[in-house]
């Protein structure tokens, strides 16, 4: 018997990170006192008119370019008319006829296989206000009304929950890196609607829409649950209803919200209050310049520099660290050491102090100096740990910090040779072990030497000299 095939399309609404709203000069901010970022335009008062925030156009254009879209050069806005209490004007100003970008794609990778998910379009629109229901009352918070959004609509190109999750994760990573949106699914700055149908044949089944799924892992679960529900219906000879669902995390199932009426009539027409916007080569070139190196390229470069894939991904998850590391991509320093420092002691320090890199005294020069000293063995990781607080908190150079701590690095081979001879003499059993082929004994001996020098010996040099001595 043929297997059921899932067909999945995803619509994602993402709030753009702008200073002000899209059609008014109210502040675009999350988590403020209800109805504090609001003016008469946001409230849809009579006689008010929309303005157009060009920052929104630039960010949306950036998003469209990242999604490999064709750009609609002569672009306008449309009104989508419907009644709902969260819609102050009785219409939403959106783009129906001329979305800023069309026919794009996003490349995902699932189980080592690469795949292009086609983007039908990306368009600009305004968010509605937020309804809060309490007992039998409803309250409206207009802070969100007019917050700029882009909606990204895929073709129905995904066929598994893994692909769907990979797509959303990829889109999130792209937008985060390009500084387009916060992409906080939990706070609602990124909202995912999933359309899913199942079929055994090439003919698509009736789809269900699962609205506003609250996390990427829930997208996977919701798809599996909904697919199972649809398959069970079909197997029992029933029909799948064209309807809208939400995913209930506690019950781990999709719950029906409303049955869709065929042909929703939004009475779209071109917004007469906003003239056409021309997107010219100059603007496109200007916006292209603002696209930073994206996650995919970062990963490739990190791995090429010898950083493990695991560590590369860890750095990419933290855009600040990644941006910091990127400053040194072409500096010639050892990026493996640099990435280890950033992920290890430096991250620990930042977490402990609850601060960010840019708020510390770690200058680029100091960072380069540190990495080089570690690389050459001028200092070792123990010394590094000892001086870290000073490095982060003082204006002085690394050399000055080392000097002030009274730390001397023993780089003199003859001095080291004496210490090594002494250690070998008092640990003759280990020397015998080594000579009998137990190579691990060398680590013990190294440790003893470091202990003897209180960690101030150049480890590479010690290693070299020790091997020479043992192999004599």
């Amino acid at each position: 018997m043929a297997e059921y095939k899932k067909t999945i399309g995803i619509e994602i609404h993402t709030e753009l990170k702008t200073k002000t709203k899209i059609y008014s000069n109210s502040v675009n901010g999350y988590g403020k006192t209800a109805n504090s970022n609001v003016n008469v335009v946001d409230l849809g008062y009579p006689g008010t008119l929309p303005t157009l925030n060009m920052e929104v156009i630039r960010l949306a254009l950036k998003a469209a370019l990242i999604l490999n879209c064709e750009i609609n050069r002569d672009m306008h806005f449309d009104r989508k008319n419907y009644f709902y209490p969260d819609l102050p004007k009785g219409y939403q100003i959106t783009q129906a006829e001329t979305p800023i970008g069309v026919n794009g794609y996003v490349e995902i990778e699932v189980n080592g296989e690469k795949k292009k998910i086609r983007i039908h379009d990306i368009h600009i629109e305004e968010d509605t206000c937020k309804s809060i229901h309490y007992k039998h009352h409803s309250f409206l918070d207009f802070n969100r009304a007019g917050v700029p959004l882009v909606e990204i609509v895929t073709e129905a190109d995904m066929h598994s929950s893994e692909e769907a999750m990979a797509y959303v994760e990829k889109l999130r990573e792209l937008f985060l890196y390009a500084d387009i949106s916060d992409c906080k699914i939990e706070e609602g700055s990124m909202r995912c609607d999933v359309n899913i149908s199942v079929s055994k044949t090439s003919e698509l089944g009736t789809r269900a829409e699962i609205k506003n799924i609250g996390s990427i892992s829930n997208i996977g679960r919701a798809i599996e649950k909904e697919a199972a529900r649809q398959i069970a219906l079909i197997e029992n000879g029933k029909e799948v209803e064209f309807a809208t669902y939400r995913y209930d995390e506690k019950q781990d199932e999709t719950v029906i919200m409303r049955v869709k009426e065929a042909g929703n009539d939004y009475r779209y027409f071109p917004e007469p209050d906003i003239p056409f916007v021309e997107i010219d080569d100059e603007l496109i070139a200007e916006v292209k310049k603002t696209i930073p190196m994206l996650a995919g390229e970062r990963r490739e470069r990190y791995v090429a520099a010898g950083i493990s894939l695991l560590n590369a991904n860890k750095i990419i998850q933290n855009r600040n660290l990644s941006n910091y590391l990127n400053k040194f991509l072409d500096s010639g320093i050892n990026l493996v050491i640099a990435s280890n420092l950033l992920l290890g002691d430096i991250s620990a320090y930042l977490n402990k102090m609850g601060t960010e890199l840019e708020n510390t005294k770690l200058t680029d020069e100091k960072f380069i100096d540190l990495v080089q000293k570690l690389d050459k063995g001028d200092i070792n990781s123990k010394v590094f740990k000892d001086i870290l607080d000073d490095v982060m908190e003082k204006d002085t150079t690394i050399d000055e910090i080392i000097a002030s701590k009274g730390i001397k690095i023993i780089n003199d081979p003859s001095a080291l040779k004496t210490i090594i001879s002494n250690v070998l003499e008092s640990n003759s059993a280990s020397v015998t072990d080594y000579k009998n082929g137990n190579t691990r004994a060398i680590k013990f001996l190294m440790g003893q030497i470091m202990k003897e020098t209180k960690g101030s010996a150049n480890p590479e040099l010690v290693n070299k000299l020790l091997e020479e001595e043992l192999n004599k």
Partner: protein, 484 residues
């Protein structure tokens, strides 16, 4: 009672400067006149207390411009901070705005004093002001007649000399037609000339605010104040400010004037109106202007296009009146659907509901393509045809209305009649051009007949030149009280 308000703005300004009168004298006189002509029902809301207060405040200020201390009336679809703005609708009859329209800021900056808000058709939908929730205004030339619409209250209060200045709005003739019926000067500027911010939207791509005054010169002066780019209205033009009075009084010799054949069709325009038009044409030719007849493509379809575009846009623009945030809201509705249905059902009048329904239908499903998009295309063709005429001619003239003002109560049961009344004024809105009315005579019952002057985009100054010539040559007595 003093008679300062019969003087010209320039004369009043001189008296104010010489401290012979105070702004308070003007304001009190205006309210006396308004009180005396309450029968005209020209105003929906008066703002006497604050007007007096403002007039007193002005006593300490320098008379710094021609409009200083002059009383002005504002159409009730233009929002005024702290002053009720109803759009002549039940749904807004408790609406007190917390912000001023851009034009209101401008008139306040010149220290004009707003005396009140004028009566109009509900949401400017009508041609007689009879769809007003507050009853129709009357025509000062004959109180049995309509004042026209939708800016009927503004036209009536200028005609009756209650105040010297008023603001109107024109979506499909709503400044020019009542100006014609009431014998005053009214200008609908080029679309984009005057900011629409604070004008309660009817047909957004057509709406334009304009000045309504006793004479041409004062109209041009008031337009000087109203124009200019406003960043709050993206459709407002970046055109530099200019002095619209600058060509007034110049010789019209050599002017090339076109008359659309459609404007002189005998089955459309009444003979008394046509006769006056022909007299004016003769006058112009005698004074060295050339007048020729032209065809304008699709001009006969303008009313149909207007119905599609204006009603489509209106159905969307009026969606915000839902009883949630401001205005009338039905008490204790059972759920949101009932809140909408009863608030809008009780709040809007019949004509508004009719237009919302037709507009919604026109934008519904495939209809948007069949009707709205098609209408936009033909509208573009009309515009191009007009612009072609302006390649050869300086101005276009014709009548503003097919007849003089008709009886109150007439045509109320005929929704199409009011549109056909506007057959001569609507093409101008379709093309986004400036159009104005200047009185050109009187018909039966001594009712005013108006001349329409249409200019190329941003050519208002040239229109004022011709209008002032006609005004001066005809030298009509335009104060109904003087005639009686």
């Amino acid at each position: 009672m003093s008679k300062y308000l019969d003087l010209s703005i320039v004369e009043i300004n001189k008296l104010l400067k010489e401290k012979k009168i105070k702004p308070l004298d003007l304001v009190l006189e205006a309210f006396d006149r308004i009180e005396e002509r309450k029968d005209l029902n020209a105003f929906i809301t008066l703002d006497k207390e604050r007007a007096i207060m403002k007039a007193k405040e002005l006593e300490d200020k320098e008379v710094d411009n021609l409009f200083f201390g002059i009383p002005i009336a504002v159409k009730d679809n233009i929002v005024t901070k702290d002053l009720r703005t109803t759009c002549a609708s039940h749904i807004l009859d408790n609406f007190i705005p917390i912000y001023d329209a851009t034009v209101v800021e401008k008139i306040n900056d010149c220290h004009m004093i707003i005396v009140g808000k004028t009566n109009m058709d509900e949401f400017a939908m009508g041609s007689t002001s009879q769809t007003s929730y507050f009853g129709a205004p009357h025509n000062p030339w004959d109180v049995q007649k309509v004042a026209g619409g939708s800016s009927g209250g503004s036209a009536a209060c200028i005609s009756a000399r209650l105040v010297p200045l008023a603001l109107g709005s024109d979506t499909g003739g709503s400044i020019r037609q009542p100006s014609s019926y009431c014998g005053i000067v009214g200008m609908k500027p080029t679309y984009g000339r005057v900011s629409r911010y604070g004008l309660v939207a009817f047909g957004s791509s057509l709406d334009q605010i304009g000045p309504m005054t006793r004479n041409v010169y004062e109209n041009a002066l008031l337009l000087n104040v109203l124009v200019g780019r406003d960043d709050r209205d993206l459709t407002s033009s970046h055109k530099e400010k200019e002095d619209f009075t600058r060509l007034i009084g110049e010789d019209i010799k050599g002017m090339r004037i076109a008359v659309p054949n459609f404007f002189v069709k005998e089955d459309i325009v009444s003979s008394e109106v046509l006769n006056k038009l022909h007299e004016v044409i003769e006058l112009l030719e005698k004074n060295g202007a050339t007048v020729e007849y032209v065809d304008i493509d699709y001009i006969e379809n303008a009313v149909t296009l207007y119905q599609i575009i204006a009603m489509g846009e209106a159905s969307s623009n009026l969606a915000r009146f839902d009883g949630v945030r401001y205005g009338y809201s039905v008490e204790d509705p059972k759920g949101i659907d009932e809140l909408y249905a009863l608030t809008r059902g009780n709040g809007f009048g019949d004509e508004v509901k009719r237009r919302i329904m037709v507009g919604s239908y026109l934008l519904s499903g495939e209809n948007a393509k069949i009707y709205y998009n098609k209408a936009l295309q033909i509208r573009e063709a009309i515009r191009e045809s007009f612009l072609k005429v302006f390649e050869k001619y300086d101005l276009i003239i014709g009548p503003n209305a097919t007849t003089t003002a008709y009886n109150l109560g007439e045509g109320l049961d005929d929704p199409l009649k009011t549109f056909l009344d506007d057959i001569l004024v609507i093409p101008v809105n379709m093309a986004g051009l400036p159009g104005m009315n200047v009185p050109m005579g009187f018909g039966e019952g001594h009712l005013p007949i108006g001349l329409q002057i249409i200019g190329n985009r941003f050519d208002e100054a040239l229109m004022y030149k011709l209008a002032s010539f006609v005004e001066k040559e005809l030298d009509l007595e335009l104060n109904p009280l003087e005639v009686r």
